[in-house]
């Protein structure tokens, strides 16, 4: 098993190099001259050439890439065009909020879809199954940003149940830790609902077909003929076997979660990496954009890797050979 993990880690290296290359190429394609932002517009042409040489901007692109890569590997992503802060600091600042929101989304999606899928599978091809499918499909088909707007309009503006945006109420004087947590949860409800509703359909569908498959197995028939009642059958015999694939599905969910976070965080002004990403798109803050591209891809790769490893650990039949 250790062998396969290290092999996976090795295959990540070219992927990371690839992603840095993509972001470097995009940065090169981006319009505008980075020097023009730094220098006095009245600078003499020969001085400009000197600055260019000092910064190494007159060297071939691949040498520039190599130097940039070395810097990136040491955590130096450059400085934000907007705030002037080091990019790494800006991003690490935003990471906790993103991890909190996507982690909670993941837990809720699994917690909701697992029983829902079992229920739909057990009642396959009945009205219940039908309605579960339609409702989760509606969740999948609603544009997340529009759902966010409608929720804000109804629950925040009209009913004033939830705050409009942000992470925490900073107006409270010297809040206790408990008050801070409550405030964060209160702010998180709407972003969480929006991202959870969009992610229900896939997993529910998956569990449903898994349960339908399991119910056709001989051991279920045997258990039924032994007189095992429906609830015991579902929760003892079916649920256990249906639970295993969750781990791989978690891995498959991660790209969608990270990708979806961009729009949702932006609308709710949730101070995570996604919101930073979209606002940097509008500000044309290329160093931040590229770093976010690298970071979010890394998060996705790591998440997939962890779920693969966890799956091997949980199901030893998925052997060293197949991965």
């Amino acid at each position: 098993m250790m062998g396969s993990i290290s092999k996976r880690l090795l295959t990540m290296i070219p992927m990371i190099l690839g992603i840095t290359a993509v972001s470097f190429v995009l940065m090169q394609l981006a319009p505008g001259d980075p020097l023009a932002m730094m220098v006095d517009p009245s600078i003499h042409e020969s001085d400009l050439a000197q600055v260019r040489e000092n910064l190494g901007l007159n060297q071939p692109v691949w040498i520039q890439y190599w130097r940039w890569l070395l810097a990136v590997l040491q955590g130096d992503f450059g400085y934000s065009f907007v705030t002037g802060q080091p990019v790494l600091t800006v991003i690490l600042d935003r990471l906790p909020a993103t991890l909190l929101l996507s982690g909670s989304t993941m837990v809720l999606i699994v917690g909701i879809t697992f029983p829902l899928g079992i229920w739909a599978g057990y009642k396959a091809n009945t009205a219940v199954d039908h309605w579960i499918t339609v409702l989760t499909f509606i969740g999948m088909s609603i544009p997340a940003f529009w759902l966010a707007l409608v929720l804000l309009l109804m629950l925040s503006v009209q009913l004033e149940w939830f705050p409009l945006s942000g992470f925490q109420n900073y107006a409270v004087f010297e809040p206790t830790v408990w008050q801070q947590c409550a405030s964060i949860v209160h702010h998180m409800v709407l972003p969480l609902v929006t991202s959870v509703l969009g992610g229900l359909a896939g997993l529910t569908r998956y569990h449903r077909s898994g349960v339908v498959g399991i119910l056709n197995r001989m051991y279920i028939t045997a258990a039924r003929s032994r007189g095992v009642g429906p609830s015991r059958l579902l929760f003892k015999h079916v649920a256990k076997n249906a639970a295993l694939p969750i781990i791989t599905l978690l891995g498959l969910m991660i790209p969608g979660l990270i990708g979806g976070s961009f729009v949702i965080e932006y609308i709710f002004a949730w101070p995570g990496m996604g919101q930073l990403g979209v606002s940097s798109v509008f500000a044309r803050d290329y160093p931040v954009l590229m770093a976010i591209l690298v970071f979010s891809s890394l998060l996705i790769m790591l998440g997939t890797l962890v779920s693969d490893i966890a799956y091997q650990w949980a199901d030893p039949r998925v052997g060293r050979t197949s991965v």
């Binding site: 992927m15 088909s141 609603i142 544009p143 940003f145 529009w146 996604g274 798109v281 891809s297 790769m301």
Partner: protein, 264 residues
Amino acid sequence: MVALSALFLMGLIGVSILVPWLSGVDPNVVPLTQQLEPLPPRWDHWVYWFGTDDLGRGILIRIVYGARLSLVIGVVSAVVSTSIGSLVGGVSGYFGGWVDKVLMRFVEFMMAIPTLFLILIIQTIYTPTIVTVMVVIGLTSWMGVARLVRSEVLSIKQQPFVLAARARGVLGWRLLLRHIMPHALPPIVVAATLDVGGAILIESALSFLGLGVQPPHASWGNMLHNSLSYLLDAPWMALIPGGFITATVLAINILGDRLRYRSD
């Protein structure tokens, strides 16, 4: 539900072809004789059934033109992504070996990049037009199809008729394109259908952020972008386009799911 979805989509397609052709109403002209503010739905002329936007233009006619654009963008992007995905997946599954390894690593690599964010960055670098929107969505969402087609081809390759074709001397690309791929067509069609819905959602998000279809062209996404400043005073400007996106994508997803069920 399936019949209703089919009916809705056919109605939408019919209206989006017929109305621009027959009505002669220009969706982008600002009627200068009217008040330039959003007005709620009224019944004196069919153009105003859904109310007007902030420039006094009828929302209904813009919804119709938006439907045309959304459907075209959805279908073209899905055709692009399904073609790339089928080619990559087919070649990968059929030739196997190092070709397969390299291509699948590339698929994994593409899947690790958050698509919407990549599209946003590309749209800031190039001036967003309808064509770039379609191409960029197509180029960034083919990976699922590639995986699907690869596994299909792997299982079709094992079937006796392939062996028979080989024995008759059909080899290489000819075997893949003429004999194996046609059998992988049903799941490809399903994936393409679902991709149309996905592409419509991506387009709406892009246009909503102002990086997709640009005004004065009406798209459901940029109508929503437009509605942001009037959310409280003119909620219909936001509710109607959003409702149409949801209904259309839902109908596509229900049809796709039905197709998948039949092809299994």
